[in-house]
Chain length 238, copies 4
DNA sequence: GATGAATGAGTGTTCATTCAT
DNA sequence: TATGAATGAACACTCATTCAT
């Protein structure tokens, strides 16, 4: 699996970051606008983000924004496309180099996902798509193809490895994928949509929640009780 | 200049001809408006739904809408109450009358939730809240209070019952609630946000997915392993 | 000066008050509506008064209001016309029967005006006219003719009497009229327009204010110092 | 069906032809808008003035108005400041620099007030407040604070100076203020509310009326009788 | 006559988009 | 290229007026 093609429809969108700040960085404009727009779209949603604020945060005038992006809609699409730069090759490679048990592999996958996506700004993109997919079907298709599909393929490979190596019971792999996905999406929802109104009682520690989920999952998935749940040994005899 | 077309400027001169007859249907209006509003809120989101269109879809004028609901916000709350919140007393009663095993109780909860909410338009409301909660804090608080809190309380009661009766292992109940919630939210996300672009490979049968999830959960939750719906064995022999 | 013609364009507007409350008082409707409208127009102004509230206060439905008055504008006109029933003949007669000094006459005029107009609901009509005259020129003309003119004539007669009897110095009578009018209008303004925001320091006792004004006036108007200001005797010798 | 007229649905296809050229006049706009707003507020009252008409009269679009003034209320406040409130520092300074007799000071105050406020459109603002204060409490508070309070303080200072210097008799200063205020308010009422229907008999020359009032006042206020403007005698001889 | 459900033009305000400079 | 002043279509909500019952 070679590096994913980067679909960037605007010039100098990502490379600009590396550029030297010479001649008042003309080439960097689109990148700065995209960064500002990402922040604001995540924070305020599509409708709630005013184009003037995007421009101001990028340090340019309102007119300049429309010089680079013909409309707010196009800006939004560009933001989503631009933000989904391919980390998948790297993650794929990491997981393929993994040599431990598949249970451990799943634990590591979840942990890394939280550290690299869930806990970072990148999670905002996912939230954005969940919110606006209906309004931008074309974009949803793009997201499905560029993010959801590779992501699910990655999970699928883990589960398949577990089954192939006799570590997991035979299963409907696709449903297994969804089982892994569900707590991730749940966390994103809490973080970006419901976090504001969570009652005081249910402070949720994401890392702990994910760990708990993985162990619960493994109980259901594994052929032999995983080390994290010795108490189930008796149960296994049935 | 004899041949210029003369356009009548007298008010209501032409409109009167087209005049739609006014119907007086006081009893039926709120329901019709609620139905129209549910459709549009789900389809276009809260901000994207224009009150005039709600009225038109219900076959009345803009003014009539505000005759029954004093503001867009109250209209939305009424929709939430009508679709979801108002049913909690009934659902609570049903579960309290339940006499079977707690595993079976959880299965029934999930099944009924899908039939009554997940599979219906009401599910769109939950998706909508996930999308727009950040932009409308008052609506979010309302939803939290009227839907999230009672819903989670309901799940909590099920889990607690399992623990109390020695059917489930002791657990952090709140995390257990989230474990039950996660696949529900995952389904809603798929249906409303990603459903439009689902690839051919992953056709998902929600009922089957939920059943699978419950069984996986039960493997992790129960004191004694619970094979899929043992209660059905008896039923078969009948 | 015979009794002023009462211009009432609506049936049973005033006579209704005397009527016996038999047969659910059909004839009283216009009168009740006018009374309710007067209250509300005075309290909330023309634009601020909603026709539905007028109807409700009169104990009828919104439709009924428009049955009696073809529009809000006509209702307003009717209110003003109806409320200015002629007290002037009575007041004229009273003053013509007055036998004391003209200074005393002026004092009594002011005192009675406050008791009968300034302090009562009738003052609201004047405020109404001051506020809305520009929007209803036709009505303003009516008010000018029916109220302002007779009122000023009355004052004029007092002043003229003072001059004729050698009690007041010769003066431009019309300006004298305005001098008498000014504190009256000032009081109405305070009561109806600025009263809401008067600072705590300047509590104004209308009767005291008017008395003060009259004495100040008399200092300027009288040939000999009036009894209320003995300290001025010395000054008079100049 | 070949002969159907095809109506272009492309946006701005026709409008572009009629397009009025946009002028950039940032410096001039606020003044133009303020002038237009003053005209309309005086003519139609606060509630009766539509913001779009203010914009149109200033030759700009509705949006431009809100570019300079964030709301109708702020526009009104700006008009008040521009017309009246903003001049108090200057007027205060003038009076503090005054070195003549307090009687003369009062005369000058009245004269200047008429020339600068009473005779100008600014007077309409005061009339407007008298009309609409009850319906817009926040505006009333603003006007009280920015205009009424400084204005009355100014008068109070004059009267106090007269008393302190032994020119005026001791008095209840606040009532004195009202005595000065009354003819001013009377004039405004006549001009804006009753002026439209003034009968032929009472042509009023405001300057003359005010002068008369001041002299009448001074008769009552001064320790030694002050015949009309003695200071003018000297002036004549010059 | 009386009702009150229904109407829809009108209002302040926002904001993506345009365009003269 | 870049600016930011200017635009105008939208939108939630109000309320005088109408009319079926």
């Amino acid at each position: 699996m070679p590096s994913l093609p980067i679909t960037s429809t605007h010039p100098a969108s990502h490379a600009a970051v590396v550029q030297i700040k010479r001649e008042r960085r003309k080439e960097a404009r689109p990148g700065e606008l995209l960064a500002a727009a990402l922040d604001l779209f995540v924070e305020k949603g599509y409708a709630g983000t005013r184009s003037e604020e995007v421009a101001r945060r990028a340090g340019v005038s309102k007119g300049t924004l429309f010089l680079y992006f013909p409309s707010k809609e196009e800006l939004f699409k560009a933001v989503v496309r631009d933000s989904i730069a391919g980390h998948f090759p790297e993650w794929n490679a990491e997981l393929e180099a993994f040599t431990g048990s598949t249970a451990e592999m799943l634990r590591q996958f979840m942990t890394l996902w939280w550290a690299r996506v869930g806990a970072t700004k990148a999670s905002g993109i996912t939230k954005l798509m969940m919110s606006e997919a209906n309004n931008f079907p074309e974009l949803a298709a793009f997201y499905q193809q560029e993010v959801m599909a590779p992501g699910q393929a990655l999970i699928r490979r883990i589960l398949q490895r577990g089954v192939d190596r006799g570590e997991f019971r035979p299963m409907n792999i696709q449903y297994g994928v969804y089982t892994v996905l569900a707590p991730m999406i749940f966390l994103l929802t809490r973080k970006h949509a419901m976090g504001c109104c969570a009652g005081g009682l249910d402070e949720l520690v994401p890392e702990l929640y994910l760990a708990t989920q993985v162990e619960t999952l493994l109980h259901g998935l594994c052929c032999t009780p995983t080390r994290a749940t010795p108490s189930l040994k008796k149960a296994k005899s049935t």
